[in-house]
Amino acid sequence: MILADFEIPRALRACVEQATRVICPDDLEPLGLLAPVVDHFEMSLRTLPVHVRLGFLAGLGTLEMGSLLYPPARGRRFSALPLPLARRWYQTWWKSPLSIFYQLAHAMKALISLAYYEQPAVRDRLGYHPDEWVEKVRQHRYQAFAEDIRRHEAELIAPDPLVKLRRPRHA
């Protein structure tokens, strides 16, 4: 279900930004992609069922506040940690024996890496340019097979002469 009006609560946005820095490669901020990736992640959350989204938000809250109890963090929230320490805290979740933490870390990574690798600048860097290819082959299909395509489309909506029309009985 898409909830067009859903937004990540302000209190958790800093946590998502920090998770994005951890999950994405180092060129995230030099390429100016932090905000677009977080916005994209927010859009992905909108498509999730309400109970899953609530679970996500609860998990983000725990990731953010849980670092208060993580000795190396010295009482700081996840979003306030220097990046190397934030990575270590996230890694404890990524490898956690507790399924709920493990799942949350992996699900966050899935949505954030989807968001990052779908950014045009990143696709460009990877040399992934499907639009030109799709346009080229689409033109080829319509030019090379126009008559056959037209025939197939016509057959598709015509009664099948090989099948006798079966009429249901009326009471």
Binding site: I2, S44, T47, A110, S113, V122, P130, R141, R169
Partner: protein
């Protein structure tokens, strides 16, 4: 080439006030089963209404923005999960055309041994290959199931074939529902060339040409009943922001065909109060668990150019697994890889030189779908045996990819280093991988309202009619008494065609229809 909007299509913009729809047969769902049943019933002379929860997205809306396509075309952003060890991510279509819009387009007949088993063990009537021949042929005509045109196979699939040949393993060219597919390789996100013959561009236009009316953006809440007779359904229009709009009441004079897929069909039956003497609604979920590996080659592969899954490696079919090369766009590939940060990017930077290989396992255990607060939740515990086969299949697939020239293979397991050669792959056979460490996903859910000849064991009879309910049929993969080991679309369509014929032979249209 812009598609004209069909005259008998209604979307949320058209459904702004409460209304009642009368028809002979209501079909719920417009994917492989629903669309095929609707077309057959409409051609047979019945007045058919189709309700689809997802939106209508014609071909010109299919772009290369993968994330946007996933949000538009997939249920729950493609991130649904079956709970268990390991968790299994599954994807379902939620759009006009259902999962046929987002599948890879493999169109295989049901293996003979499976049909034999259904006949023998489940007493399914007239299900043997010769008896299904004309239904398969009919389906294949409408969806244009055939081999690829020459020159459309991409380098990733050529390498898969090359590797299989080097190993001496049997491959088959995939039969796909395509008409002059030119290898755009966007099958899973809506074919942008219209070559893949999903029901959006095949069975649904046919159904509408015979008078069927299609209502998109309509989520069915429950079936309506009068005693044991199913009389129609109550639905709500799904607005753009996901909330519910107008109420739609459908009155079906003959009955209702439910084709919401193996996860949502049992949920709809359950929340409508349908009870089966077999107590098997939602039970016996199977899902062909699959996993993938990423192979890095030295040469430029450009896997997004060329046909999606041109071949299948069938060498191990008797052992219950298949292999294929499955290109995924960068976002999706990254999403399913068990790395993050610079470690992930180190693989992704080679995107143009990657081949993604997938393995599909015919599972041997059953999960279930429970309905919690009206919503379905799947539960599935993979057996040790299936997990071992999955790991073994991955190791064999890695061997194949090394034989094709790969220099490194990235595994879908936590904490297992990349493989750097065939010896590493062989060592994987002996390695114990905990189930939780497996990255498993699926798009083939089956078996939750299975058909058969015994009302004490099966939910539906041999023709998809729900036992102990009048005027209620199922027409999707829920019907399968067991997993089939190959892509299920053509089986679903052939069964829907066969069962629609039976419905036409046995249906009686009430007198009120004649008066109308």
């Amino acid at each position: 080439m812009r598609e004209p909007r069909p005259a008998n299509l209604s979307c949320r913009e058209d459904l702004t006030s409460d209304q009642t729809i009368d028809c002979d047969v209501l079909v719920i769902g417009s994917g492989a089963g629903g669309a095929a049943a609707a077309a057959e019933l409409a051609e047979g002379g019945l007045d058919v209404a189709i309700l689809e929860e997802g939106g209508w997205h014609p071909t010109e809306q299919f772009t290369s923005d993968t994330a946007e396509m996933v949000r538009k075309l997939y249920r729950d952003g493609g991130a649904s999960m079956a709970f268990g060890n390991p968790m299994v991510t599954y994807a379902e279509g939620r759009c006009v055309g259902g999962s046929t819009v987002i599948n890879g387009g493999m169109s295989w007949r049901t293996p003979e041994k499976i049909l034999d088993r259904w006949s023998r063990e489940d007493q399914v009537d007239k299900i043997l290959p010769a008896q299904l021949e004309r239904y398969f042929a009919r389906v294949e005509k409408f969806i244009s199931a055939r081999g690829q045109d020459q020159g459309t196979v991409g380098r990733d699939n050529q390498l898969l074939k090359q590797g299989a040949d080097a190993m001496g393993w049997r491959t088959v060219e995939n039969v796909r529902n395509q008409h002059h597919c030119v290898g755009a390789n966007r099958c899973a996100f809506g074919c942008p060339t219209k070559a893949k013959r999903s029901t959006l561009v095949s069975y649904l236009p046919r159904a509408m040409a015979f008078g069927a009316r299609l209502y998109a953006d309509c989520a069915v809440q429950k079936l309506t009943t009068a005693g044991k007779r199913i009389t129609g359904a109550e639905a709500r229009v799904v607005l753009a922001n996901g909330s519910h709009g107008a109420r739609i009441q459908v009155r079906a004079r003959v009955g209702v065909v439910v084709a919401c897929g193996a996860i949502h069909t049992p949920a709809l039956l359950s929340r409508s109060g349908i009870r089966s003497p077999s107590k098997a609604i939602g039970q016996r979920l199977t899902l062909h668990p699959n996993a993938k590996v990423i192979a890095v080659f030295d040469e430029e592969v450009t896997g997004w150019q060329g046909t999606h899954q041109a071949y299948q490696v069938r060498e191990f079919q008797e052992q219950g697994f298949l292999m294929a090369a499955v290109n995924a766009p960068p976002g999706l590939l990254a999403m399913g890889t068990k790395r993050y940060g610079n470690a992930l990017d180190e693989i992704m930077s080679d995107y143009g030189r990657l081949v993604t290989g997938g393995i599909l396992v015919e599972d041997t255990v059953f999960g279930q779908v429970r309905t919690l607060f009206g919503r379905p939740q799947a539960f599935y515990q993979m057996s040790d045996y299936d997990a071992e086969r999955l790991v073994r299949g991955i190791a064999l697939l890695a061997e194949l990819l090394f034989a094709a020239g790969a220099r490194r293979v990235v595994l879908p397991f936590d904490d297992v280093p990349d493989l750097l050669g065939p010896d590493d792959a062989r060592r994987l056979f002996a390695r114990k991988i905990p189930k939780r460490a497996l990255e498993v996903m699926t798009v083939h859910m089956m078996g939750t309202a299975r058909m058969g000849g015994d009302r004490a064991r099966h939910v539906c009879d041999s023709y998809g009619k729900v036992y102990d309910a009048e005027g209620l049929w199922v027409a999707d993969a829920s019907l399968f008494p067991s997993p089939i080991g190959v892509n299920p679309m053509e089986t679903i369509m052939a069964l829907a065609t066969r069962n629609a014929e039976r419905l036409l032979e046995t249906a009686t249209v009430p007198r009120s229809r004649r008066a109308a």
